[in-house]
Symmetry: C2
Subunit: 490 residues, 2 copies
Amino acid sequence: MSKGLPKRSENYSEWYNELVKRAGLAENSAVRGCMVIKPYGFAIWEKMQRALDDMFKATGHENAYFPLFVPRSFLEKEEEHAEGFAKECAVVTHYRLKANPDGKGLIVDPAAKLEEELIVRPTSETVIWNTYKNWIQSWRDLPILINQWANIVRWEMRTRIFLRTAEFLWQEGHTAHATEQEAVEETERMLGVYADFAENWMSVPVIQGVKTANERFAGAVDTYCIEAMMQDGKALQAGTSHFLGQNFARVFDVKFVNKENQLEYAWATSWGVSTRLMGALIMAHSDDNGLVLPPKLAPIQVVIIPIYRSPEDLAAISARVEPLAAELRAEGISVKYDDSDTQRSGWKFAEYELRGVPVRIGLGMRDIEAGTVELARRDELTKETLPIDGIASRVKELLEEIQANLHRRALAFRENNTHVIDSWQDFTTQIEEGGFLLAHWDGTPETEEKIKEETKATIRCIPLNSAEEAGACVYSGKPSARRVVFARAY
Amino acid sequence: MSKGLPKRSENYSEWYNELVKRAGLAENSAVRGCMVIKPYGFAIWEKMQRALDDMFKATGHENAYFPLFVPRSFLEKEEEHAEGFAKECAVVTHYRLKANPDGKGLIVDPAAKLEEELIVRPTSETVIWNTYKNWIQSWRDLPILINQWANIVRWEMRTRIFLRTAEFLWQEGHTAHATEQEAVEETERMLGVYADFAENWMSVPVIQGVKTANERFAGAVDTYCIEAMMQDGKALQAGTSHFLGQNFARVFDVKFVNKENQLEYAWATSWGVSTRLMGALIMAHSDDNGLVLPPKLAPIQVVIIPIYRSPEDLAAISARVEPLAAELRAEGISVKYDDSDTQRSGWKFAEYELRGVPVRIGLGMRDIEAGTVELARRDELTKETLPIDGIASRVKELLEEIQANLHRRALAFRENNTHVIDSWQDFTTQIEEGGFLLAHWDGTPETEEKIKEETKATIRCIPLNSAEEAGACVYSGKPSARRVVFARAY
């Protein structure tokens, strides 16, 4: 066990912070709220990117790149959007520094003031729709299905690595359509892609739903989301897909001639996931020994560690390991053989456990004599001794088992921590214990606000597949047609 | 031929601008100097990224991500570095906008002024070395071999799409080493990687060399570069690799305990290529009909175009095309079958020519009857009719031929436009004709400056493999030990 990693049960928040640091995922930088994503953390993000990018391309999207800067006048155009982002944005006002005439160092050159300030993009709807204006004349130009991988800046006051940082990395899809229906279908399709990715790559079960008006993206008609449960029972919004209606087309005057030969505003969607997913991945599966990674996103899927005393032992072990490693790699499995002599095998066991490598193979001289290996799985912390012959196919199976087991475990956890709540007293008691509360809500922003004020719980979403069920609002007692998901959230 | 694309011989500059636009590669955005990279252009950049990234990883590097913002005080630390970048940088001074009390819109909130200004990174040496400080204590922590893919802002006054833009995309490698020799080897290794990429992926021959002190990266001890020749005879610096000595370690106090148990500053390199490579790629190979792409970087390697009158014809052609397309795809070739009915085949021929698709296969009803196809190559604009049987393997060969032919052509062009110059009169005459001038130089910055003032030619590099040859400086007549490469440059 890694010395001193705080226990989840004692201090979940410290456990997370320490884990992010010790597993070499990321750290805070000298720039307030901005993180450094370290190589091991970035390798996980790259795997996420590759998988998502393939899914976007498989659904017909292309990548492009739009400017980092949003002119102030663009941000102003859509009123709700402006209100949503103006309060926390990095503003570029000058384009030059000069030597300080009064002493050492550099100062802002007052002569190099921009006529119009530039905002470092907090999201790119405005810049992109200003561009689409020139690309869209006829229904033949539609749909436009574009995604961008980019960095984003939102001047958050309270930051937390991966979960809420002033700068983060994300992808943002921005599509334009000829009809409302097509745009709604796109919004739902991309929500489905996100859910698929969360469930099948991250092994994180998610609830797909629609946000209430209070929680909607600034400028959207509807915001769809996927919500995951972390091990402390809190919710984490893992991705959003917005139906933007004609809002941005209207303010940027993006009209096209439709099939009926009439001028019409284009219909828009936008959708994004970010490095926040790293936080979700860490908090969904990891334990007091360190990171637990689903095999599909693990930079190293299998680590092989020799247990030896003499250089001769190591040579004998290496001779057995090399063909095994080659066989595993031929199966597309990423393998690290750690034969470094700077650390002992016990240290290595703990280190790769901390780093969440799904499968560990240990080989000592006794194994060489017996023709065996020790096979350990990170998720359950169990191990077994098996014949080395046929071990590659067992490892392959095991990786699939671990991927499925993590999902099963997370789903069971969510089910055990999801509660049907019918009284305000139960609500206030249960919310202190965490978890998802399925309760009736009268549909008003006022009630939603009051519940938030009194309990810090927000409506995570109105689930897409929720059954209609007549009931009374858990707070106001007014009639309600379906339950919604309440939780405290990251 | 695409109507109205200007001819290279008449207006090279307009030809380039129009080509970038019409081939759908990129366009200027509403933000001064910032470009929008359109899907087709971005698809080429993605291919470049993938190839380079694989090469970086094969040479032991890992990716990471560092903050977008550089605190002003960081930029100040290394004097030459500060001088090099302070004059053209985007400065963030505030973190909030607020409603304009005097009317509509938003204004900068004066209450949200940053204590210390943040510079949008013009390069990341300072931020990264400030981070490395915490990562490096012992020689055991070295080397650190990290690369970052990122966006960069330099407030250039005169911008040109891909070649010189206020925002561009790039990768920047930043490595730390225990010895000077290791760092120099790394600098040279990465120059070699860039040369390999330029020659074997872009089909662009390059000269590897070292920059003069005048042209060195701000803060480097030595700047290595690869220089390519464009079709107008101008030079384009396509990549640089810097040996930074201990300069950044010194100003950020990055010391480590070496094997002799002594404290020492770490040795540094940095190296980068950017979306400027897109400009080089376009200008090296394209012609008056449009883009010409080397197959390894072409998003579409083969386009198949049906020539038909009736839907029945199209069905018959499609029945032959589908197995052929599948066969090509099985070979790892990217194929587009354009059976769209919105445009005629003649339009399609011109369009894919403009977009630089290396190989075109045309099939009409006569081909179906005769069992043939028309195979056209974009580089030489030639075509031949061949039996459809066995065409897949011919296409595969042809793609390799085109890749090699583009390199051969560009190399021959460079050789024809490289001149050994021994007199100042020849120099001034030849420089007006363009090309690379191999001339003696006395080694002084003063002479270099004067030559630049009088002819606009700069020393592109001192070639790595240049033979020693005693001579007299073409300008001053003073002694010189080797020839250097002069040219006008992008």
